[in-house]
């Protein structure tokens, strides 16, 4: 693979990132350079900081320290331009919210609508610009959910909920897709459909970054793998990173880390006794 090109065009560049929840460190000294136009898998045990990394990228969490750039500019700039799409985990969504599948996917266009003429923003949905309609229609077609456009989102099955969330990320027509476990808890047909869609999106030149636990899927589809467990534990081609020895190392790191956390959490309590 032409890694030289990948090194020159990083879609996301993370430098010296530290993040913590309530003084508990979650990510430390993260340096990353995710290649543009490629499909990257982020792999790590539960609690390794994968979702936290995404929260930093989407701006819902402030890092303690560090710089995050996209295509050579501060990432906030790209969020405002709508070029970063995020597919949340199913548990992160309020499925009881009174909203239809169509309107959920359309909400991905709200960022782009800031560029529309001011008077359109004051009018109901049918006055939206055509391009927003086309994007939503295409996204729903891609995930095969057009027939469900008028359903309330709460009435869908698990796999269909995932497809709606993917359609929402696609409708944004962003250059970077961040997907938090897009394949967790989906039925096999939905899984295949999601993987096929992502493959096409990558071929269309989008940068895909996904958190996954699905090793066979990752081996088959992705171009680049990042192993993470609080620190970066490895970065490179899938064959090398997803080898049994590498994954075993990652598992050991997670056992060591939980031992470390017990000692850290336990010590103050012992000290006060």
């Amino acid at each position: 693979m032409d890694t030289s090109l990948a090194m020159h065009t990083a879609a996301i560049e993370v430098k010296g990132l530290y993040a913590a929840y309530q003084r508990q460190p979650v990510l430390e000294d993260i340096h990353l350079s995710l290649p543009a136009g490629r499909w990257t898998a982020i792999v790590g045990p539960n609690g390794a900081g994968k979702s936290t990394l995404f929260h930093v990228l989407t701006g819902s969490m402030k890092p303690l320290r560090g710089q995050v750039d996209a295509f050579g500019k501060a990432i906030e700039h790209h969020r405002k331009a709508g070029s970063i799409a995020y597919m949340a985990q199913r548990e992160a969504i309020e499925w009881d919210f009174p909203i239809s599948v169509w309107e959920t996917v359309m909400s991905a266009r709200y960022g782009h609508m800031r560029q529309d003429a001011w008077w359109r923003r004051l009018l109901p949905a049918r006055w939206h610009e055509q391009r927003h309609y086309h994007a939503v229609e295409k996204a729903l077609d891609d995930v095969n959910m057009m027939a469900f456009a008028d359903r309330p989102i709460g009435a869908l099955s698990g796999g269909k909920k995932k497809r709606v969330l993917l359609a929402r990320a696609l409708a944004q027509e962003a250059s970077i897709l961040l997907l938090d476990e897009p394949l967790a808890g989906v039925d096999p047909p939905s899984e295949q459909l999601i993987l096929d869609v992502l493959k096409r999106e990558r071929e269309a030149g989008r940068t895909i970054v996904m958190v996954t636990h699905d090793m066979p899927g990752a081996r088959r589809y992705v171009d680049h793998v990042v192993l993470i467990n609080r620190f970066i534990r490895g970065e490179g081609a899938p064959d090398e990173m997803l080898s049994d020895s590498k994954l075993a190392e990652l598992a050991v790191s997670s056992i060591e880390q939980s031992a470390y956390e017990v000692s850290v959490a336990g010590s103050p309590a012992l000290a006060t006794k």
């Binding site: 819902s60 331009a81 909400s107 923003r121």
Partner: protein, 310 residues
Amino acid sequence: MLHTLDAFSSALVAGLIAALMVPVNLLPDSISDAFQYAFMQRALLTSMMVGAICGMLSCYVVLKRWSLLGDAISHAVLPGVAIAYLLGLPFFIGAFVTGALTSLGIGAIERHTRIKSDAAMGIMFTGAFALGIVLISKIASSTHLMHILFGNVLGVQQSALLLTLAASVVALLVVWLAFRPLMLYAFDPTQAQALGFNTGVIHYGLILLLTLTIVASLETVGIILVVAMLITPGATAHLLTDRFKTMLFISVGVGVGSAVLGLWLSFAFDVASGGTIVLVATGCFFMALLFSPKHGVLMRLWRHRQVGAS
């Protein structure tokens, strides 16, 4: 200048009341008789506006699970009323300031300490409420306190009516202009953030809007009962629809409807008007709970039986 403003606002209120009386006078005399008094006309106009903005805001309160926050802000308004009285300021300025300060204080405690949000709210609002009661016991009679706590819609003055009118216009404009960011923030704040919306501004803007609504409702339903008007219409509407916009309209309808019916019932039976308005809204909620075609209890039982039978 001030004089023309005064004349303009009087004319505005007179016009609104005249417009309101057109449909009222079409009703049978036994109903419309109650609204021939000037104080009842003012009460009708004020309580309808309060019902409308509380109904609108209650959708956000219910969907964002902010019921306790609404409770907290409404109680925190009390010391502001007392302090404004001591300083000789209009009451709504004090009410707005302490209400907003308390909600900011809750957020700060929640973010920077290990205390969870429900405890933070409980501490802040009971503390503020207690301070309000102590202050008021020193400066005013207990009837006055009762009016602030439970509302006094039949005694609504021109100034309170104008305040409610201004608050309604502001709330309506904000919800209209920021409809999409507000809905997205209520639905999925992470997505709003990822799309580059300033969620801090949306969050605190919504809290300020809530505070404004509470202050505007103070004289109509009072501090204690405004919480009901900020939860019940939205919860009722949530049982009846799966569309956000429809929910807004139903909720406003429930708010206005309860205000009108409650006001009339309180006049007809000579009972407390704030309480009656809330009781009508509560009645609407239980009707929806039982009979809602999709999410009602009876429909659920019926579907269970059908599944069991087949």
